[in-house]
């Protein structure tokens, strides 16, 4: 008998097209509805069919938000799955499934609980039901609410007709019953407690958190060119475009996307573009125009490993330098990198106020790991999102680039007010007309690159300290690694280790410096050079003492961070 308590990590693996992602969706839905805390994340190949994709689902008695390497239960849909995840198999791993899907070499090394999934699916009518059968099986192991499974299947397959729904429910039921039986027989014992509060929480992905955050922030225009892993946000916006009454337009290339968004902001809309590193690289010139013309714009950049096409469906925090320096010449920008889904919601909403207020590009940096992460959380408080409009009327004599002390000129939009608005990507005078004057150039350069930047810095929120102010060791992380590092620190259980997490990445408030004093600094980043540590060196002259870096295109696991920390902490 194998027993799993409190926190179970289930991994399903199969070829693209075998429906692993459907299982993920059914499980998170049904288990959450049953009152379990759930977390899910997937990794997949850059292809539409074949290869091997896997999904990890954690089911837990407590809140759970991070990726673990450990696999408690593995369900292989295809031979090859075990080899693909072999580093993650442990002594206690149970493989649930068919012998045919297990490679010879593993047979004598693993706990195989044979389950004739294919046969069961065929009994319902076709191999196509393999995935719903498996989903039912897992829900059964948890004695979850089967109605939730039924509900989900009805919603998801409803458009395909009654028979499809019926057959899928039948398959799930078969799986469910077997799951329950395996427990009852004592083959597998799963002990995870339900938490009634969970039922009233929401289940979101990173993609949805960014997307709905944008809606909350008043986004009414999204132009994009598809690019993994950023496309989800555009798809989300498109799916809700009619409901929210907004424009979502797929354009010819990323250059059009960002320039269209600039035009939209110029005319007073709240526009966003969603892209990945290569697409953003193409936008560099326009980002510089945004800097010069003081044209607000919001960009969501979901990172994937580069350079170039790299690993299109995998994860990395490798584009920080790109967004810090993209565009020619000196001008300010704001970079945000949410660590939690709550932050993704609030920060994305706030990005629109920031862009409107400071009239700079605001970049929201996520990554494939982040956008593909699911978990349950209390519904964000929509009332907390404030809508701040910074548009003025163009009264006669209006000057678009009026020189002000804080570097921010009142922004009017065409058609509002009697006078006209002239924006310009050439160096300009206060009215927006071209200048070649040396004095004026100095004033305008200082307005943008110094005074406005200082204003933003002063307003910038400080990073979040998790743990004691007195800790000897300070772990530094930014963006999507938040929860993984948090859980690793919990596991480490040492009071002298704290976490400083940055979701406001740039520009840094000068007061941030105080956090570093006298600490042993440990930088955790999902890239090869430690780009954020370099930024800290540049901004504050501080040296991190240790770097824990990962750059194989996969996210950090709790175990890896823990191991890394143990390696550098006495």
């Amino acid at each position: 008998m194998v027993e799993f308590k409190e926190d179970v990590s289930i991994v399903l693996g199969g070829a693209a097209g075998q429906g692993v992602q459907t299982v993920e969706a059914i499980l998170t839905y049904a288990l959450k509805k049953s009152g379990y805390h759930v977390y899910a994340n997937k990794e997949y190949m850059s292809r539409v069919r074949g290869g091997i994709n896997t999904t990890e689902i954690r089911v837990s008695s407590k809140r759970v938000r991070a990726f673990v390497k450990r696999i408690d239960i593995l369900v292989p849909f295809k031979k090859g799955t075990l080899s693909w995840v072999k580093d993650r198999l442990g002594e206690n791993t149970v493989v649930l499934g068919e012998k045919e899907n297990v490679e010879e070499e593993f047979l004598d090394k693993i706990n195989l609980v044979e389950v004739p999934l294919t046969k069961m699916a065929m009994e319902v009518g076709s191999q196509l039901y393999l995935n719903t059968t498996a989903a039912g099986l897992i829900v059964g192991l948890f004695h979850g609410d089967f109605e939730a499974v039924e509900e989900y299947i009805s919603k998801r397959f409803g458009s395909k007709g009654e028979n499809v729904v019926k057959k899928n429910i039948e398959a799930a039921k078969k799986g469910y019953e077997l799951g329950v039986k395996l427990c009852d027989e004592g083959t597998i014992r799963v002990e995870v407690e339900r938490d009634e509060k969970v039922k009233d929480e929401v289940l979101l992905t990173g993609t949805e958190a960014v997307g709905i955050g944008a809606f909350a922030g008043g986004m009414n225009f999204l132009s994009f060119y598809p690019m993994s892993p950023s496309t989800g946000v555009s798809t989300f916006a498109a799916q809700h475009a009619e409901e929210f009454g907004i424009i979502v337009e797929q354009v010819e290339d990323e250059i059009a996307a960002v320039n269209m968004a600039l035009g939209a902001w110029f005319a007073g809309a709240r526009a966003m573009v969603s892209t990945s590193g290569g697409g953003f690289a193409l936008m560099s010139e326009a980002i510089s125009l945004a800097g010069m013309a003081e044209n607000p714009v919001v960009v969501h950049l979901a990172q994937r490993p580069g350079p170039a096409t790299g690993l299109p469906t995998r994860t990395m925090q490798g584009d920080l330098n790109l967004v810090l320096y993209a565009g020619h010449g000196d001008f300010p920008r704001i970079i945000l990198a949410p660590g939690s889904l709550e932050e993704a919601f609030y920060l994305t909403a706030e990005a629109f106020n920031l862009a409107d207020k400071y009239q700079v590009p605001v970049i929201i940096l996520t990554d494939q790991y982040f956008v593909d992460t699911y978990y349950n959380l209390p519904a964000p408080d929509v009332e907390k999102v404030k809508f701040e409009r910074h548009i003025v009327e163009a009264k006669p004599g209006y000057r678009r680039y009026e020189l002000t002390e804080d570097g921010i000129s009142p922004r009017a939009v065409p058609g509002y007010g009697e006078d006209v608005v002239i924006a310009n990507g050439n160096e300009h005078d206060e009215w927006g007309d071209i200048t070649e004057d040396a004095e004026l150039t100095i004033k305008m350069q200082e307005k943008r690159a110094i005074r406005k930047l200082e204003t933003i810095k002063k307003d910038a929120p400080l990073p979040k300290l998790i743990g004691s102010e007195k800790a000897k060791y300070l772990v530094i992380a930014w963006g999507s690694t938040l929860h993984v590092v948090e859980e690793a620190l919990e596991k480490l259980g040492r009071e002298d280790v704290a976490l400083l997490h940055f979701s406001w990445v740039y520009p840094l408030n000068p007061e941030t410096r105080k956090f570093f004093e006298g600490k042993v600094l440990i930088d955790v980043e999902n890239n090869i050079t430690g780009q954020f540590a370099e930024l800290l060196r540049k901004e504050f002259g501080i040296e991190v003492h240790h770097k824990i870096l990962k750059y194989d295109g996969r996210p950090f696991s709790v175990e890896e961070v823990l191991e890394g920390l143990k390696g550098v902490i006495e």
Binding site: E151, K199, D200, V202, F215, G217, M219, N220, F221, S223, A241, E242, F244, G245, I246, I247, E249, V251, E252, I255, A256, N259, M260, A261, L262, G263, A264, W265, F266, A267, G268, A269, R270, A271, E285, L289, A293, A379, V382, E383, V385, F387, R389, P396, P414, G415, Y416, G417, D419, V420, V421, I422, A423, N424, G425, D429, W431, G432, D433, I434
Partner: protein
């Protein structure tokens, strides 16, 4: 306050500091185009704050500084997507995308292609001097074969781009060509282009007196003619005319009325308010979260 506002052409004369210093060369065709455009806007009875001129980079693209209207002097080649964004966000504005032949046909070529497909209700004015003016005389996509330039000292050998044929082939909503030397006719054509619902492309031939020694005022007069007997609703005829190269036909080649981009996006299906007047919809966000609870 009862200030007497100017009317007609005078309205569009900029009076900002330095407005009198126009950076074009004396004798340049750009002056004529400015003149034509101001008359057109005045005749249409528009006010400066109702018009937005979005320009790229080049001599042509300096226009926003020489006309009193909303303006955005953007990047080389990017006037069209920016203008599309402007129009989509505020359909009440009359939006003009303006630039040179290099701007619109070289750096901005892809945007032109796809703007035709998207059909926003904007007017695209191309100052076509068949050369790069601002950067001093290199060949443009419309430079005639054989012309020698500092960077093509052997004479241009690339096929010149035929913007009219391109527009007709891609089923653009409105395609015209004029020569700025014909003032009245040009005003008429651009007026129709602005009034046309949908993307209107007007290729405006004009001499660059500094760098194009081939296509002079005299040359254009000699090598162009007005299409008097042409039916712009006949696509094949339009294509045949588009292929004529000497003399070059002037006039409206092709019109195909069809729904515009703004008419088809979800944003304006139920509500005509320009986007900038709108706020977020917290109720819908809340409803979304409710849906995510189950």
């Amino acid at each position: 306050m009862n200030v007497q506002l100017p009317t007609g052409r005078e309205l569009f004369e900029p009076k900002r500091p330095g407005s009198e210093d126009v950076a074009w060369c004396p004798g340049c065709g750009n002056f004529g185009i400015r003149n034509i455009l101001i008359s057109t806007l005045a005749e249409l009875g528009l006010r400066p704050n109702q018009v937005a001129i979005i320009s790229g980079i080049g001599q042509a693209a300096k226009m926003p500084h020489y006309i009193n209207a909303n303006g955005y002097h953007t990047l080389h080649g990017r006037a069209i997507p920016i203008a599309t964004g402007v129009k989509a966000s505020n359909p009440e504005l009359t939006v003009i995308a303006e630039g040179g032949d290099g701007d619109m046909y070289a750096e901005g070529g892809n945007h032109l292609l796809h703007a035709i497909r998207r059909n926003p209700d904007i007017t695209v004015l191309i100052h076509d001097n068949q050369v790069y003016g601002l950067t001093k005389g290199q060949a443009s996509p419309t430079t005639m074969k054989g012309m020698k330039t500092p960077t093509q000292p052997w004479g241009v050998f690339e096929e010149p781009l035929n913007p009219v044929a391109l527009g007709v082939a891609l089923d653009a909503s409105f395609v015209a060509r004029t020569f700025m030397g014909y003032f009245k006719e040009s005003v008429e054509i651009i007026k129709k282009a602005i009034q046309h619902k949908g993307l209107a492309i007007v290729d405006i031939l004009h001499p660059c007196v500094s760098f194009n020694k081939v296509n002079t005022y005299a040359w254009y007069r000699e090598h162009t003619y007005w299409m008097d007997d042409h039916d712009p609703y006949d696509r094949e005829a339009a294509f045949r005319r588009a292929l004529e190269s000497d003399p070059l036909p002037l006039g409206i080649f092709y019109i195909h009325e069809k729904p515009t981009f703004e008419e088809q996006v979800p944003a304006y299906k139920k509500d005509k308010t320009p986007l900038w007047k709108r706020g977020p919809k917290p109720e819908l966000v809340k409803r979304f979260f409710e849906g995510k609870k189950l």
